[in-house]
């Protein structure tokens, strides 16, 4: 027995979601150093034989064996739990359905609020844990009005608060992000000092459950029918080319359109109704004044009764822009940009900040053109 065995199941413990990557490993190490009683849990999210997993992919799917080695090295118990069914329903199926609707989803958002901070948190509580920690670069601090505030990680290059905007106050109360106050180089240094083999592991970028063949091929394979080509339309509605299936296109996309024009053309609409995409010039693209958000979650502030000035991030790591958010009926909100913006792809998470603080976030709704 290399693991420390606890003598009672009622002593408060922290469960750490461990992927085998450097971030979650160091998160566990930091907590362990603070004297916390740590249990590591690896999440089995897909059938191993099902997907050719991208090496070094996101916070979800990593080598469980790396995770096991980290746990052994740091001396805490480690288990792999099966979340395949919920992951399929709330993450991969959501991802596929959203793309087939002509949207561009962020699967990491439901992976955090459903898989980690609902399902895994439930399992963690079953182990006597009061707290669930992950390797996200974000901070939780006491906020105003007795609420907890979700804030950006201090490393501006790594901040992941964008993917956590949908957490509720109760979820934040149970969450711990030990890396929120650290930079990525500091994380790597800790991993190196601890002798963790994962310290120089490749950075994750891509969607974890999509293999090297890319997400369009993944969707085609999963949805059970071939992607349908259709027309590419210009501003006047004239057909200027043929697309290779809607899921290959995202609003704002310039590359891979296969149309030749004197100036660069951008995707400005993806319409599953007519199976067409619309393209325009850079000038034509910059013209969205207003955006409606759905499924809005107010994180660090209570649902407001009046418009709120915000700094809006309309895509992960995209520069924030000033805007005014006004709550609407049914959990929606409208966002008025100070200056017209490139259109935001429907399905994208739009996260609203005040400085470092995440005020709210929601999902961009399809804009009806015409």
């Amino acid at each position: 027995m290399t693991n420390e065995k606890r003598t009672s199941t009622v002593k408060p413990v922290t469960v750490v979601a461990i992927s085998g990557g450097v971030d979650s490993s160091v998160a566990a190490a930091v907590l362990k150093e603070q004297g916390r009683d740590v249990i590591g849990i690896g999440l089995q999210l897909v059938d191993p034989e099902d997907v050719c997993v991208t090496p070094g992919s996101c916070c979800g799917i990593e080598s469980m064996e790396d995770a096991r080695r980290v746990a052994e090295k740091l001396g805490f118990p480690f288990y792999v739990l099966n979340f395949k069914d919920v992951f399929r329903t709330f993450v991969t199926d959501y991802f596929i359905d959203s793309y087939l609707r002509g949207e561009t989803p962020n699967p990491c958002v439901p992976c955090n609020d459903v898989i980690k901070f609902a399902e895994l948190l439930r399992s963690a509580r079953g182990l006597g844990a009061t707290c669930l920690a992950t390797g996200h670069y974000a901070r939780i601090e006491p906020g105003s009005g007795g609420r907890l505030a979700l804030k950006k990680g201090i490393d501006g290059n790594k901040d992941q608060s964008y993917f956590l905007y949908s957490l509720t106050q109760e979820q934040l109360a149970a969450a711990s992000f030990p890396l929120g106050g650290m930079t990525k180089p500091q994380t790597r240094a800790v991993a190196r000092d601890l002798g963790l083999k994962v310290h120089d592991k490749q950075e994750s970028q891509d969607i974890c459950f999509v293999g090297v063949e890319g997400y369009a091929a993944f969707i085609e394979q999963r949805c059970g029918h071939a992607l349908e080509p259709g027309p590419i339309l210009d501003d006047s509605g004239a057909v200027v080319g043929e697309h290779k299936g809607l899921v290959n296109y995202t609003i704002g996309q310039r590359r891979g359109l296969g149309v030749s024009f004197p100036e660069p053309m951008y995707v400005v609409d993806v319409d599953p109704g007519s199976n067409s995409i619309a393209v325009t010039t850079a000038q034509g693209l910059k013209r969205q004044n207003r955006l409606v958000l759905d499924r809005v979650n107010y994180v660090s502030i209570a649902p407001p009764s009046a418009p709120v000035r915000v700094s809006a991030m309309t895509r992960y790591r995209k520069a924030e822009v000033p805007a005014t958010m006004s709550p609407l009926e049914g959990g929606a909100a409208s966002l008025e940009f100070d200056d017209p913006q490139e259109p935001t792809a429907p399905g994208q998470s739009v996260v609203l900040y005040d400085g470092d603080t995440v005020l709210a976030g929601g999902i961009a709704v399809r804009e009806f053109r015409g």
Partner: protein
């Protein structure tokens, strides 16, 4: 705190006598049994002595045993080897729904080769009824495979009757006796079986070695091709140290019956009775009668078996939610589902499996912590999270 290992149906600790036989053979009997010289002959002698001892422990003539890499290979060799050898006679095989995956998935693979498969479910007591098997048998049935004892519930199957039903219809009969060996008497003559699989590591022997009993006159096609070893049915230089250790383990396990079984059954029934008395809403899966002396399967309604397993592990108590899975992640038991246990109840089951090192004190320790764990998990499961 010492670990309390209650997962002996998954694997067992190697006993000292077996370790001794293994290292003795590993160190001294290094020859190749196929070599003509003296060094080779010594290895051959140990191999054949081991075969005699292993055969003796199951009531078989020595020549009817071949050694394999374990239970999975024995099952595959029996099922696929037999089905393929009798392909001209018929293309239908029968197995039960509670078989180990080594049999179940082998049968499914044979379907791709053109064999037809009938899977006979067990009844709610986890028993495969001979009448149901008889109904499933057709004129073109070449093989029936039903395990001796189920690995998840410990239920013993009426192998003699099942075997008789197969023979009456002109089919051959295989039984996977991996869990039964060493826990109950396993005698191929009394059972009447044509093929029987055994494994070393469930009986305090090493992993990676097992055996297949093959009744005289039963044809098998090999799974792999090579030299003349093991009658060319299982070619490859013999694992002499493993085989010597396996024979020792099997011989000791058989010789210690029925005393060892009575002791294990005492531990198991103590645990079962106390659980049923002290914890509400529990269900025993598979009856106390007709069961292995060492396997107890219990469902704790409303609680995830996985959570119980992890909580016990954190206290140094090793149990299982079913059969061990390579990934370490947990799926609902196909055996309990095949018995008609609702998925919700199957998901809440725990298997306790006893072995020679377990004591009454250990059972008392489990009973000290288990009711609290169940109560706490039940309290938690009524609360909704994230609302």
């Amino acid at each position: 705190m010492d670990n309390i290992y209650l997962d002996n149906a998954a694997t067992t600790p190697v006993r000292p006598e077996v370790q001794e036989a293994f290292s003795e053979a590993l160190g001294r009997t290094y020859g190749n049994p196929s070599s003509i010289h003296t060094v080779g002959q010594e290895a051959k002698k140990l191999l054949e002595e081991s075969r005699e001892r292993a055969a003796g422990a199951i009531g078989s003539p020595p020549g009817n045993i071949i050694f394999t890499s374990g239970g999975t290979e024995s099952d595959n060799l029996a099922v696929a080897g037999c089905a393929r050898a009798y392909k001209d006679k018929g293309n239908h095989i029968v197995c039960s729904g509670i078989e180990h995956h080594a049999v179940l998935n082998c049968c499914k693979a044979l379907q791709a080769e053109g064999f037809e498969l009938t899977v006979v479910p067990a009844n709610t007591d986890c028993i495969v009824e001979p009448e149901r098997v008889a109904e499933a048998i057709r004129p073109e049935t070449v093989l029936v495979s039903v395990m001796y004892a189920n690995n998840e519930t410990g239920t013993l199957q009426p192998v003699r009757e099942l075997c008789a039903a197969a023979h009456e219809a002109g089919a051959l009969f295989h039984t996977d006796a991996v869990q039964a060996a060493g826990k109950v008497e396993v005698n191929v003559e009394k059972l009447g079986v044509d093929l029987m699989s055994l494994s070393g590591h469930k009986i305090y022997g090493p992993k990676g070695v097992g055996a297949l009993y093959i009744r005289s006159g039963t044809k098998l096609l090999p799974l792999v091709y090579g030299g003349h070893h093991e009658k060319s049915i299982r070619p490859g230089t013999e694992n002499v140290p493993g085989i010597a250790a396996f024979a020792t383990a099997l011989e000791l396990a058989a010789a210690e019956l029925p005393g060892s079984a009575n002791r294990l059954r005492g531990l198991k029934e103590t645990l079962a009775a106390a659980i049923l008395e002290n914890i509400p809403a529990v269900q025993r899966n598979g009856g106390a009668e007709n069961s292995l002396p060492n396997v107890l399967n219990v469902s704790f309604e409303g609680v995830d078996g996985e959570s119980i397993l992890l909580n016990l592990d954190l206290l140094g108590i090793s149990v299982s939610t079913g059969s061990a899975c390579t990934s370490g992640a947990i799926e609902p038991s196909h055996v309990l589902l095949a018995m008609g246990v609702p998925p919700r109840i199957a998901q809440s089951s725990i298997r306790f499996s006893f072995g020679r090192e377990n004591t009454e004190g250990q059972v008392a320790r489990v009973l000290e912590v288990l009711p609290d764990i169940i109560r706490r998990l039940r309290d938690l499961s009524v609360k909704k999270i994230g609302e």
